[in-house]
Amino acid sequence: MTGPMIFFSILAGLSIAFSLLVVFQRNVVHSAMALVATLFLIAVLFLTLDAAMVGILQILVYAGAIMVLFLFVIMLLNPGVLEARGIAWWLLGSIAALLLLFELASLLVDSRGLIPGQAPAGASFGSPEMLAQSLFNDFVLPFEIASVLLLVAMIGAVVLAKREP
């Protein structure tokens, strides 16, 4: 095993372990903290794939902003009681998910020949300049639509969460 392979294995094992903690844990706050760890590990995986800018955005936007919002709502609502553990239901859901995994995994193994090899990445691949050039040349219209989407989401959140008089 080479160095990058060992690094990838450690990251993969940790991210799978933390995402299992997100799902199979009864305390909501602990789930949220495990999700922060998972998102951080995925950001490191982005860095190993020459996506520095997106990795940093992942930490800032996901592990920072979105998860703080989740924690705020958890503490605002303060659910208190732990969710009851329905063994049969959990088993059924896990089996359904495992079936989905087997389907996806067999598909990925079968299509191994179709997946192209690694193209050599330029020195500036994944840098802010490259991302901005792609974003503002080829994807200007989606970018503007995304800004409108954020505005709509903001107004919608204010209207939905407003206390009725």
């Binding site: 995402s19 799902v23 902003a65 659910p79 996806l104 990445a121 989407l149």
Partner: protein, 100 residues
């Protein structure tokens, strides 16, 4: 270099764990967090393919997915808050107003 397949398999595993969370949990906030986990698994696929094909398009799509995920989390949490005000619970089984 780590082959592309490994990243795709890891992303599939993370997606399936998120799907399991949506299926088995009975807490609206955890269900929403599982959806975020699934979105991140898909992001990992996009980034892996962008690196493999040497194209920036995948990374730009991930940028947009993050935007949509932020909007989804904001609106979803606002809906959860207003539902909690009416029902005093986060259990989706209690929300059966439309159930015949």
């Amino acid at each position: 270099m780590v082959p592309l397949n490994y990243y795709l398999l890891l992303s599939a595993v993370l997606f399936v764990i998120g799907a399991a969370g949506v299926l088995i949990r009975r807490d609206l906030i955890v269900i929403l967090m599982s959806v975020e986990l699934m979105l991140n698994a898909v992001n990992l696929t996009f980034i892996a393919f962008a690196r493999s094909l040497g194209s920036m398009d995948g990374q730009v799509i991930v940028f947009f997915v993050m935007t949509v995920a932020a909007a989804e989390a904001v609106v979803g949490l606002a809906i959860i808050i207003s539902v909690f005000r009416h029902h005093r619970t986060l259990d989706p089984r209690q929300m059966q107003l439309l159930k015949w």
